[in-house]
Amino acid sequence: MKPVARLVLAGGLLASATLQAAVTEQGVVKNYGDIAYAVFSDSLITAQFLQVKVDALVEAPSQATLDAARSAWKQARVPYQQSEVFRFGNGIVDDWEGQLNAWPLDEGLIDYVAASNYHHEMGNVGANANIIANTSLKLGGTTLDLSTITPDLLASLNELGGSEANVATGYHAIEFLLWGQDLNGTKAGAGQRAYTDYIQGDGCTHGNCDRRAQYLKAATELLINDLKTMQAQWAPGQQNYRAELESQKSEAALTKALFGMGSLALGELAGERMKVALEANSTEDEHDCFSDNTHFSHYYDAKGIENIYYGTYQRVDGSVIKGDSIAMLVKAKDPALAKATDKQFKQTMASMQALVDKAEAQQNAQKFDQMIAEGNEAGAKLIQDAITGLVALTRKIEKVAVELGVENLSPETADHEF
């Protein structure tokens, strides 16, 4: 694959729509990095805004400050979910993301739960550890000191006792601390944690409000630290992961991009996050199960795939990143395939949008956990259509890969280590 050389324009001032340089693979890789940098920067910005609201909640707990924190959490999910397309394929992102977005979690590790409505992973010794209520934890022969809840302590408690469901950190831990357990099953309603869970001194509900506040602040701080780390890896002009990626043959980066798109669309989103929950009618397998924000999380995952294909990303401030794209490469080589892929994207995104529309409807709204209820045929159809759309999209991504000469869709890191 010989990319057409890009026209070098003095000062770059002439690079307007009327005099567009031919698309190159290097241009696509550069734009891929630009989008990653913008997405992780936006994730950081919105997490910092969340921190402001969390601090306000802890400072003066009220329904208003709790609602504001919840709303900030939902906003923070918008850019973060669009970053997930970078996960598969880029080992550095995949190795890092567990601390931020691991799910499902056994929330009894973190705080109080309703015993009758709590279903944890079998064999999980930490399933009822309740870090907030306990200043120390005996596990096997050792005793862990939990007296001060810090970001480092929380990071060390992830996968406590070897269980993946022991998630002490990240978006979903914070989500649980803001919403609490969703005790409604497949009926309407999200978690109903009261702001009084954060009242310091008299009026504190469920005890340990000081430690609960400490936990929430520490988890938020860790999230911000982690996002800073990943943002730096994608900053332009630095010695970082992005520089390494751009120094490789552009085919290697394209492979990672395409692998990320296909893996997220098929195995992860269509399979793990939608089909399992749907077919098993299992709310335990709902992605944002405390807040009932699952429809948006799924939508923005798919949006992230679309971003990479078209080389565009709308930032949270409304500005738009735009550059050389995989779509342009395909269009230059096989206009028919480009057209068919466009059509599939439209159809798939429409089916994702339909989930959002139903969940956010003014009347008779249904969240994802209601759609998966046994016997809800209309809800099941909405989800099934989205799954079918994602599967069809994956097929197109495979064809695109073949067209672009990507011989093996699995990057080297896809099956590393036993």
């Binding site: 995949d94 006792g161 070897g162 993946e164 469901a165 098929l266 269509a270 399979g271 073949v402």
Partner: protein, 385 residues
């Protein structure tokens, strides 16, 4: 493996696979034409391409495997019915469940064709189930006032429709000890046991008939000779992708899961073994390996060995066969149920050896077999984490 260990997303319960045969370049087409001409000269009396012969032979094998599964399921249904007439001895029903599971494991790798149409593979078996959804869903059914019949199961979660729920009802002490109690609850549980085994027969029968269906057969077999077009994945590619996907699941989920290789701290967990309640995890893997061996070497038909010889890659068949045998031999060294062996450090070297050997087998299939047959593998559900 990938770390986001903190997640349990990796799962064998998603069977979306694909592969396309890569014949798009002009070179390949020219090469193909030369090949066709040569073949025409060499074997003028038999015009069936080798791919088509192989696909037809595999198809026949799959059909008879479904028949065998149907027969075992029917026997299981009568076995549970007999038990429920006089709930004294569970062992015949348990033995028959094991035989049915074994028949299913022989044909579990076939994640294409009619089985995909109604999520029938999940109806037959739902796994992994780390949060014990099966016990909860079965519990909810048993608490209902109304009688349980096929219509009840039709509307229920796939988790309660097949072998997973039957294993719970037959092998889990919390359930199996109730039958003799002569209470309404025990009676209800027997009702569920009977209805679920009948439901399984219905599901398997639908797949089996779907597979034998003339329309399906002719459409599917036709793809073997047309190669890849824009709408369809050809049968040969589907078979190879499914073989690989199955062995990836053996490594990642069936072994890697209980061994703890999917979590950061690498802590084993016996509950993550497939069929841990019945102690048949290793028997399942053995059946998976034997099923693969039969695709490579079928004494009575056109097998993979002959197809590879046709492609000038005869030694590869021996290599794959030897690796399968190595896996089978390592597996037979483990004389304890997998769910217990992973918790016993004395077994770790043997389990690791098996895990690694299956990994090497996967490499042979992915980097050896697929290119030898000019098959380009696409995404499968093991991508993702």
């Amino acid at each position: 493996m990938r770390y986001p260990g903190a997640t349990y997303r990796s799962s064998a319960t998603k069977y979306l696979t694909s592969a396309t045969k890569y014949r798009s370049s002009a070179n390949n087409i020219v090469h193909g034409l030369v090949l066709v001409i040569t073949l025409a000269v060499v074997s003028a009396c038999d015009s069936t391409p080798p791919e088509a012969k192989w696909v037809a032979a595999v198809s026949k094998r799959i059909g008879s495997d479904y028949q065998a599964l149907l027969k075992e399921s029917e026997t299981l249904a009568s076995s549970t019915a007999t038990f429920c007439e006089q709930p004294v001895d569970l062992s015949p029903a348990r033995t028959q469940w094991l035989r049915t599971m074994d028949a299913w494991q022989q044909v579990q790798w076939v994640r294409f064709g009619p089985i995909l149409e109604n999520n029938d593979d999940w109806k037959i078996q739902f796994w992994p189930d780390k949060k014990n959804i099966v016990a909860r869903k079965v519990g909810q059914l048993l608490e209902r006032e109304q009688a349980i019949d096929a219509a009840t199961l039709d509307k229920a979660s796939v988790v309660v429709q097949g072998l997973t729920a039957l294993e719970l009802l037959l092998f889990d002490d919390n359930f199996s000890q109730r039958y003799g109690e002569n209470t309404p609850q025990a009676e209800k549980q027997c009702q569920l046991l009977r209805v679920t085994s009948e439901y399984l027969v219905t599901t398997v029968n639908r797949i089996s008939e779907g597979w034998q269906d003339d329309d399906f057969q002719s459409r599917w077999l036709a793809t073997a000779t047309t190669g890849s077009d824009s709408t369809q994945v050809d049968a040969e590619s589907q078979i190879v992708a499914a073989m690989l996907s199955q062995m990836e699941k053996v490594k990642l989920d069936k072994l890697g899961g209980p061994l703890g290789y999917k979590n950061r701290n690498r802590q084993p967990n016996g509950y993550f073994a497939e069929s841990w309640r019945s102690h048949s995890s290793l028997a399942n893997i053995q059946a998976n390996l034997l099923a693969l061996a039969r695709v490579i070497d079928a004494q009575d038909g056109y097998d993979l060995r002959r197809l590879l010889a046709h492609h000038g890659a005869a030694p590869l068949a021996d290599q794959i066969q030897a690796q399968v045998n190595k896996c089978l031999s390592l597996l037979s060294d483990i004389d304890k149920p997998l769910s217990e062996a992973v918790m016993d450090s004395a077994y770790k070297p043997r389990l690791d050896a098996l895990h690694q050997a299956v990994g090497e087998l996967n490499s042979l299939l992915k980097s050896g077999l697929a290119p030898a047959l000019q098959i380009k593998l696409g995404f499968n559900s093991n991508d993702g984490d």
